[in-house]
């Protein structure tokens, strides 16, 4: 299991388009990818779930990744966050 933390740095928080791109990126991996934001939690491979978290600018996200390709997934998702969030 790999974990990392990321603070959202986009004035719009996670809105529809980056949420969709995040889900697309997450789906490329076999591992389970969970996002936690305070009390809210979502499966990163489900668009509506991610959008419903309503993550805003400045909020901290905890990513929990577990599976065969967890190292690779973690790298890719981190790089995604830096780029889009």
């Amino acid at each position: 299991m790999v974990r990392f933390n990321y603070t959202v740095n986009d004035p719009h928080g996670i809105h529809a388009r980056p949420a969709g791109l995040l889900v697309k990126a997450a789906k490329m991996f076999n591992s389970d990818i969970k996002i936690k934001c305070g009390e809210r939690e979502a499966d990163a491979k489900k668009l509506l779930a991610v959008m419903r978290m309503g993550v805003r600018n400045g909020e901290g996200l905890d990513f929990l990744i577990s599976g065969e390709d967890e190292e690779l997934a973690s790298e890719e998702i981190q790089s995604f966050c830096r780029k889009y969030l």
């Binding site: 986009d10 388009r17 969709g20 697309k24 668009l47 959008m51 309503g54 780029k83």
Partner: protein
């Protein structure tokens, strides 16, 4: 039409949100709802299979619509269809629908209920953007349930105003513009796909009117998308009033169009350059259509954003050359990479900054990443052999920066000469006047720049110490920004000490016809604005002294 307007008829007015696309006359038409079992002939298919079939067909439809929307409405507007595509794939939505089917609902009720369920969740969100997505859930339901029938309305009468609960993206994009004069929807918002497409199709629309009774079908009506009202069975007086409004609008449009190929001259015969600001190669078309005399600002960031790796020299050269060639010898001013830590650049590991607006950005960033900067300069130089290109540096605050940049450019010129690659040896180098410092010491900077271009957006923010997006601070920037106008006047005086050197404005103030006379009085040589505003400003200059 006149025959049907009875002088004694009581006209009915219905309010809604207008998309500000003008007025139109037409006959109200209520298309048949195409829902449910349309087209699914096989009575042996169960609800689960119907659902699958509809979703598959919906995915196909959305792909086609997206393509069409990108062409007619542009990439940003078509983005809404990306969201639809992803929602169609979402397992949570599917699970909800299947769950309702399990409970015994037919596919229509299941999809509608699932959409409502998610819509409610979005509607509760404090974030305005997300709560607007609630409407999208309804659109998604229509998309799925109407997927199997012909998405475009058939048998529309001529000169009609379509009235419906809502229109799916497919239906809006496929509207037969020769027959449809406008459309009215009971729901929807100004950020919904319906509003966006109304603007791009140029058809007036009225949204969120609430339910309108079918008994009005066939009646003549006026759709007023400026004031947000639908007038059913207008009386003669109203009819005449709108007829003259439409006529005035049409005349204005024709007059504006007549300026397309005219030079930009004042009443006293003084000519100025009127250019376009663009952010991508696709926008050169708009520049041409609106009679731009050149490109006053090519924002080069399109080559650098939204990607994992830096664009290489050849890719950049290709893009710059194509733009230069498409302008057929008209000047193209390319601004070098202008980004800061507030933008996401995949291949630069930019540190988070407390104050990105005052941090590593513009020319500073380029000096920090010299390999990338020099690559861009080389690509621009190579492209300069194919058109009339000039270079512009952003965020300048000192003459040392200009001198350092010139040195890099000279070095690249030497490299290209050695490699026997052609470039324009006389390529001009100008700077953005967007920091107060640059305006105040513009006398020093004028010696080292071939031209100035005033970035009024940033200049106003830095000068008034106010963020335009901040609702408390933005009020500090007045409509007539005297402080900034004085800075521009200083810069103008200083650059004009050198014959042949010129100053232009590329920020939003340039597109304000209320300021045109002031700029002309100061001696501004060039205005560069977004393409849709060009004809308006050419007309404004024409009416100035």
């Amino acid at each position: 039409m006149i025959k049907e307007i009875q002088e004694k008829a009581t006209q009915i007015q219905i309010q809604g949100k207008g998309t500000k696309m003008g007025y139109a006359f037409g006959k109200l038409f209520f298309p048949q709802k195409s829902r449910g079992n349309n087209g699914i002939e096989n009575q042996y298919i169960n609800e689960y299979e119907k659902y699958k079939q509809l979703v598959d067909k919906a995915k196909e439809n959305i792909k086609n619509v997206k393509l069409r929307a990108e062409q007619s409405a542009g990439a940003d507007e078509a983005e809404i269809f990306d969201v639809y595509e992803m929602m169609l794939d979402d397992p949570d939505f599917e699970d909800k629908c299947i769950g309702y089917i399990d409970d015994g609902m037919n596919v229509t009720s299941a999809v509608e209920s699932a959409a409502s369920f998610f819509a409610e969740q979005f509607r509760k969100m404090p974030d305005e953007y997300l709560s607007a997505r609630a409407d999208d859930m309804k659109g998604l339901a229509s998309l799925i349930l109407g997927a199997d029938s012909d998405p475009a309305f058939s048998d529309i009468p001529d000169e009609c105003i379509i009235v419906a609960d809502d229109l799916t993206p497919a239906q809006t994009v496929l509207l037969d513009k020769t027959k449809v004069r406008g459309f009215v929807t009971f729901s929807g918002s100004l950020t919904s796909h319906t509003a966006i497409l109304s603007k791009s199709l140029g058809i007036p629309a009225l949204l969120k009117t609430g339910k309108i009774s079918r008994e009005y079908e066939g009646l003549s009506a006026i759709i007023d998308s400026e004031n947000g009202v639908l007038i059913i069975s207008p009386d003669l007086k109203t009819y005449d009033e709108y007829r003259s409004r439409i006529s005035v609008r049409e005349n204005e449009r024709i007059i504006l169009q007549s300026f397309k190929n005219q030079p930009t001259v004042t009443k006293s015969g003084r000519k100025i350059m009127l250019y376009a600001n663009i952010g991508s190669p696709a926008e050169t078309a708009g520049a041409h259509e609106n009679g731009a005399e050149g490109i006053g600002l090519l924002r080069s960031e399109f080559l650098f954003l939204d990607r994992d790796t830096a664009p290489d020299e050849d890719e950049q050269f290709d893009a710059y050359r194509k733009i230069a060639e498409s302008m057929h010898g008209k000047r193209v001013i390319i601004r070098t990479l202008d980004i800061g830590a507030d933008k996401k650049v995949g291949f630069l590991d930019l540190e988070k900054e407390e104050n990105p607006a005052l941090g590593l950005r513009g020319i500073r960033l380029c000096f920090e990443y010299p390999v990338i900067f020099r690559e861009q300069l080389r690509a621009i130089l190579r492209a300069s052999a194919y058109g009339n290109i000039a270079i512009m540096l952003p965020m300048i605050t000192s003459k040392e920066q200009i001198i350092a940049a010139r040195e890099l450019i000279d070095r690249e010129k030497t490299v290209l000469t050695r490699r026997k690659i052609a470039f324009d040896p006389d390529i001009k180098l100008g700077i953005m006047i967007e920091t107060p410092a640059s305006a105040v010491i513009s006398d020093e900077l004028a010696e080292y720049s071939d031209f100035f271009s005033v970035g009024t957006n940033d200049l106003c923010q830095y000068t008034y110490a106010a963020d335009r997006q901040n609702r408390y601070a933005s009020e500090s920037i007045p409509e007539y920004p005297l402080a900034v106008m004085r800075l521009i006047r200083t810069a103008t005086k200083n650059i004009h000490e050198y014959p042949g050197k010129w100053i232009g404005i590329c920020g939003e103030l340039a597109a304000d016809p209320g300021l045109t006379q002031s700029f002309l009085d100061m001696g501004i040589d060039e205005l560069s604005i977004s393409s849709p505003n060009i004809l308006n400003i050419r007309k404004a200059v024409f009416e100035c002294n």
